[in-house]
Symmetry: C2
Subunit: 365 residues, 2 copies
């Protein structure tokens, strides 16, 4: 009963912006409703994102608690155990990872490993009876994404991809602008997502085997941006690659530009880079424009429109995603960002790779 009331409240909150119709909403953001008992989350892979972003976010969640870690570095066990009070029994390494099946204090496994390990650790988590949040990009290939989705389905577990932007209020409002044609039909989107990646060649993001490169790491923001603002799936792609530092970027792409065509005849001109910083999305519709700068940061997303800026709450995206995932698990509601969402981006990435290889326009299946 309590849950049912919460659920109605939650769904109402989700729909509130939509109800505003053509007007630009300026309403306060509502967090996902509480669940009775927090779900336990184990972080797999304790690099920068787990250490500096997800673990702090888990201190702000209302529906999740950081109850476990999986790490291959013994030194990190003590540090994390002390800092977050994680009991010895909830600390795993890559050898005994599958024994997590016996641990009732861990409900959700959050895979924060290099891209090449996403598929394996997601599938093993599902087989261990755990729900999964997997970082983006979902995996190296469409085939891997499909295996991950199948493994979760076969084991009755839920899967969400770490597309935190879709939980961010300004981004959701921009998505609404596209979906409800608030400024008319979107005809053009340009989005650029990049940073000056000074990592040495030894870093996994500069290695092909690990699924490195700008397109995989940052390109998904540009691709997601075009998709959620146009609110359609692209049908074709052309792409170009630019390499200024061929010594560091001999295996993976440094800068990629790509053009997507959509069924409504909208088009997107995108860019992603490990050489240039960039963090902007601009959408042009028949009756006006809207833009976000930045559009893919952890905080401080800014939404501007032809009618003036739209200031909404600046929330913790990661905490919100985890809280909503937990709520959906407990209430058996579909994920806002399921595995299928990550799969769609991998289809686009695979077609983009083919477009880069062939120099031709490639249809997206």
């Amino acid at each position: 009963m309590k849950n049912e009331r919460s659920r109605r409240h939650f769904l109402k909150t989700c729909a509130a912006t939509a109800l505003a119709g053509g007007a630009l909403a300026q309403q306060s953001w509502q967090p996902p409703p509480r669940i009775e008992n927090k779900l336990g989350v184990a972080l797999v892979g304790l690099g920068y994102y787990s250490t500096d972003v997800l673990a702090p976010a888990l201190q702000q969640t209302r529906n999740c608690a950081l109850t476990g870690i999986v790490t291959g570095t013994a030194a990190k066990e003590r540090i994390w155990s002390e800092k977050y009070g994680i009991p010895r029994r909830n600390i795993y390494n890559y050898d005994n990872y599958d024994r997590i099946v016996d641990n009732d204090e861990i409900d959700i496994i959050y895979v924060v490993l290099p891209n090449s390990m996403h598929a394996e650790y997601t599938i093993r988590a599902a087989r261990a009876g755990k729900h999964v949040i997997c970082e983006k990009p979902m995996a190296l290939s469409v085939a891997e994404c499909e295996s991950m989705i199948r493994a979760c389905r076969d084991n009755g577990r839920m899967l969400s991809i770490g597309y935190r932007m879709q939980f961010e209020p300004h981004t959701r409002e921009a998505m609404r602008f596209g979906r409800e044609k608030v400024f008319g039909e979107v005809r053009y989107v340009t989005a650029s997502a990049g940073f000056q990646n000074g990592s040495p060649k030894t870093h996994w993001k500069l290695q092909k085997a690990y699924g490195g490169g700008a397109l995989m790491d940052m390109g998904v923001y540009s691709i997601q941006g075009a998709r959620y603002v146009i609110h359609e799936e692209p049908v074709s792609v052309t792409a170009q690659s630019f390499t200024v530092d061929p010594e560091r970027f001999d295996e993976v792409d440094e800068t990629v530009t790509l053009q997507l065509e959509f069924p409504s005849q909208a088009m997107a001109n995108l860019m992603t880079s490990f050489r240039a910083s960039a963090n902007i999305l601009y959408a042009s519709a028949q009756k006006g424009w809207f833009s976000m700068n930045p559009f893919s940061g952890y905080r401080g997303i800014k939404l501007d429109t032809i009618r003036g800026p739209v200031a909404l709450s600046d929330i913790n995206q990661q905490a919100t995603q985890m809280d909503e995932v937990a709520w959906c698990i407990v209430n058996n509601e579909p994920m806002r960002v399921p595995g299928e969402e990550g799969l769609r981006d991998l289809k686009i990435i695979e077609a983009t790779r083919e477009a880069l290889r062939s120099g031709r326009k490639v249809a997206i299946a």
Copy 2:
């Protein structure tokens, strides 16, 4: 003496922003200094831009006066004559155009004809001993641009291209950001310039013979933007064409995306369109970004930066360009936007056309 003082004042004003060095300037704009006797301007071609923009701008100029017109439409002669007090003797048509050589009340000919007529009417103006302002794009080809520059030089006349943005304070400030590396070296520019051109196929902007198409009409804004913000000349181009309405766009391009590489290894990802509205430039440098939205409008240019917005004067760009051109003519100073500037863009456009034809990266001469 008076002129010399004015000139020093003017050059000082031009340099004032530069003197501010690394700081973001927020100073008041100064118009070009006055000359003793206004120069007479004749508009050639009385379409929308002459009627609604240039003639009103000429009412605001301090150094120019609208003293003549050249039109093929007899009905317009009376209307313009009455509205602007243009005497019968200063009204020409396309048959007696060359007789303008005998008219001392006309110093500058402003060519506002369809693109395919720019070269001929500029060259004939120079031969008639008149200085020329020619609308952008300068002409149909590099060869035409070179003829125009030669004709003006051979006749000792000055030539400026109607790139009004280069006179706009926010644009000039953005140019300074690039030139002085205020945010470090610019590594990436994306610019999109387009409008929803609903003209019928009979309009010259939709016909190849007249030099129509989005790339010629609006693409030059994106190309100029990349060039003046990066402050270099591009060395190569790749380009893609998108056509949604093949009936109207069977001769000229509807939407074009292009990628330019620069000697400093900066790159630009540009878009131009007759289908989608777009009016934004975003530049990313090593230590921050700056952007203009809109960046190519007649009024209301907005400049934003990672350090906050920069609000300068919102001026009449056309009046300012004409006033400065007149001042430069009288003082024999080089044009801010000479014919060579239009020629450079035509080189890029010709390479872009070749890139579209071949599907390959094309070097820019």
